[in-house]
């Protein structure tokens, strides 16, 4: 067998071995991989970056623990960025299995930045029927959420004093693992014209590009990769740091990048072998 034929008909166990070694090695020596940041993720970051202290950003978090790996990093990075910039946050959750998780994120980050519930952020909690809840919030946050997650009436929270509805928030970022996104697009943006960006899981990403094109959403963070892009920007902006273990999505990205490179290399090797062995004949 010639060298090129051997290249073409490599025993597949070599492929397995290389993949295995690459994954294990990259898992142990985690290193930073420069990442191409998509404009749709950058526009979300840039928008949050443009907010000035005291302005309010709303985050709708609609996902269950199953898709945490992809979406949690987004929630953390955005929350950290906002608190570091003294931007106020209004959060709500429209997924039945999510409320505790959101609380965990916001409480943890608030403690890091010494932010006070009710003054620097408000967590509205969970309500069923996303469509009705979003519609009602467009009228007044107090209709679906007379009290916040901790049972305090909204009217007694200083941050909510001048807040009525979506008109009082600079934008809404919806981080979602399911159909919730559609309601935000159709109702919050479609009906109340709220400025909206979304963060979704990898499999959902392709479905939402048309909304980006039509301008219904101004930004899109797509899956693990989008989360890593956001973390990359936030790290460069000094909002999160690798040393403190605040990068989640970025941690597994090197494994993804190296395995993708290896697979593409194998395809190239196979084709070079195919070409050369054919030419010889």
């Amino acid at each position: 067998m010639t060298f090129y034929e051997r290249m073409m008909n490599l025993d597949r166990r070599w492929v397995y071995l290389v993949i295995g070694v690459v994954v294990v090695v990259t898992a142990i020596w985690s290193f930073a991989v420069p990442l191409y940041v998509t404009p749709e993720a950058r526009s979300v970051y840039d928008f949050v970056e443009s907010l000035v202290p005291g302005e309010v950003l709303m985050i709708g978090v609609d996902y269950a623990p199953e898709v945490m790996a992809e979406l949690h990093p987004m929630s953390y990075a955005i929350t950290r960025q906002c608190f570091a910039k003294d931007v106020k946050l209004l959060l709500c959750c429209l997924h039945q299995n999510g409320p505790g998780m959101v609380e965990q994120v916001v409480a943890q980050v608030a403690e890091e930045y010494d932010k006070v519930n009710g003054i620097d952020y408000v967590y509205l909690g969970y309500k069923p029927y996303p469509s009705i809840t979003i519609l009602a919030m467009g009228q007044n946050f107090r209709i679906p959420f007379p009290e916040d997650y901790y049972g305090t009436p909204l009217d007694s929270l200083p941050m909510m004093r001048n807040m009525t509805n979506f008109d009082n928030v600079k934008a809404i970022i919806n981080i979602s693992g399911g159909s919730g996104t559609e309601y935000w697009i159709n109702y919050a943006n479609g009906r109340y014209n709220a400025k909206l960006a979304i963060g979704v899981t990898g499999v959902m990403t392709a479905d939402y590009y048309p909304f980006l094109q039509s301008g219904q959403i101004f930004g899109l963070i797509g899956g693990m990769k989008g989360a890593a892009e956001y973390e990359y920007l936030a790290e460069r902006g000094g909002y999160i740091s690798r040393e403190k273990g605040q990068l989640w999505a970025s941690k597994s990205m090197p494994i993804q990048t190296t395995t993708h490179i290896v697979i593409i290399l194998f395809i190239v090797i196979g084709n070079v072998g195919y070409f050369m062995s054919k030419r010889k004949k």
């Binding site: 597949r12 397995y16 191409y36 392709a206 590009y209 094109q213 194998f266 395809i267 084709n271």
Partner: protein, 209 residues
Amino acid sequence: MRRTLPIAVVAGVGFFMLIQYFIPREEFETLYEWALDWTMVIGCFAMALGLYSLTNMMVTKVRRKAEGWGYSLVALVGLFVMVFVGIVPHYQDSLKYGTLFMDIFEYIYIPIQAAMFSLLAFYIASAAYRAFRVRTVLATILLVSAIIIMLRLIPLGPLSAVNQWLVNFILTVPNMAAKRAFWLGVGLGATATALKIMLGIERGYMGRD
């Protein structure tokens, strides 16, 4: 009788399921829900057949001391331990977290399932290596499209922007069109198959004698 009765049942039940879809009345809804329940009950009885078929095969191997009969014994032990701890010690509570039944499931089935699933990372690489050759036009198209999508995770400097544009284009235009056409075809094909079954044109699956 042996052939016509079953075919009549297929046609009758099929026709009912077809028309009930358009009748929102409660009576029809209830019948529909019953039909679903009944299929589940039939599945339970059938499970006995399934378990019989599995144990029969394994027991035969063990009894004949066929090659690898020891492994068949492992399967038999696994099966009977599971049924035993599922029924005997905690009647009705076996499915709760923390019982031996669930422990076995969690520490034996789940890890193996996850490991089998993750074998796909290796297989997807070797399948790509073997299949993506520029042998034919179709294979080349498959290869180019897959590589463009995979490149989105690799830093390419300024070319990344071009690649990202291509990725978006592929996902929203040809990929979307391919899915739509695929589903349209599947919809018509599945309907035709269902019609053939209900009209009794295809009946080879229903025995002959």
